[in-house]
Symmetry: C2
């Protein structure tokens, strides 16, 4: 059946995502402590709030896909950069642990994430990754506007 | 073999990409004609130049993956918005035509794109999409800085 032809495998997608997460971590770290939750352009949210949004989406999406229990209750409030990075690193480890627990056929199944977002699981997971890339691109502009050179987009190591 | 388990199929990925392309088209269209190739924040490139970069990457990547011939010679120079949108729509059709010509096993093979970027084809294609999302996120900030509400990120229809 056509579904047996992979564009990318689950393992490949996790590697791809973790590469993005390493880059996003560097973008968080590039912000001066006093700008992370205060600076923005055009009235948008500061990058710290966007990073905390990412935290509320990544592990909760994967955990929900495994268990059917949806929880995105982490606060997005301002906190020290070190605390954002600590949460980020914890989630990186948790994603590696949780990912193999997703039954492979589930990626092609339709479910309702967080009780309100229906979709095929691969689209729901790509949405989480795309949202990270989208807001990180926003973070690049904030860094440039602050006179700070952002990390190289192509470097995912 | 593990490779037979898809996270997403080639068809699913093309639909996902075309959803992003519809959104990116709306972002191009949201720029005032006189700002598309002139306005930017923090000394970055204007959104028109970023959109033209996307044009040099999308169809050329897919065509190269099929033929082994790499060509990204489209100029990124300023031009009327209608011309950017016309190229965009042409490429949307071309992607739909070309995509099924990629032999499915090729997505998991390593090749060297444009004679200089080695990688597994699925990573190379995801790079093109991620680059579009990344720069489009930048475009959202430009629009907000211009006082223009960007199109909804979640709307891909």
């Amino acid at each position: 059946m056509a579904q047996a032809i992979p564009f990318i495998t689950p393992d490949g997608l996790l590697s791809h995502w973790q590469g993005h997460r390493r880059l996003t971590r560097r973008v968080v770290d590039a912000f001066p402590e006093d700008k992370l939750f205060s600076f923005s352009v055009g009235g948008m949210r500061p990058f710290g709030a966007l990073a905390m949004e990412m935290v509320t989406m990544a592990v909760p999406m994967v955990r929900g896909a495994i268990s059917g229990e949806w929880n995105a209750s982490t606060s997005r409030d301002a906190r020290p950069k070190s605390e954002v990075l600590r949460l980020w690193d914890e989630d990186t480890d948790q994603l590696n642990e949780l990912w193999p627990q997703i039954p492979p056929q589930r990626f092609l199944e339709t479910l309702t994430a967080f009780g309100q977002y229906p979709g095929v699981l691969h689209d729901l997971i790509l949405y989480v990754i795309d949202n990270e890339i989208h807001h990180r691109g926003q973070g690049y502009v904030y860094l440039r506007a602050l006179g700070i050179e952002p990390p190289a987009f192509y470097d995912r190591g």
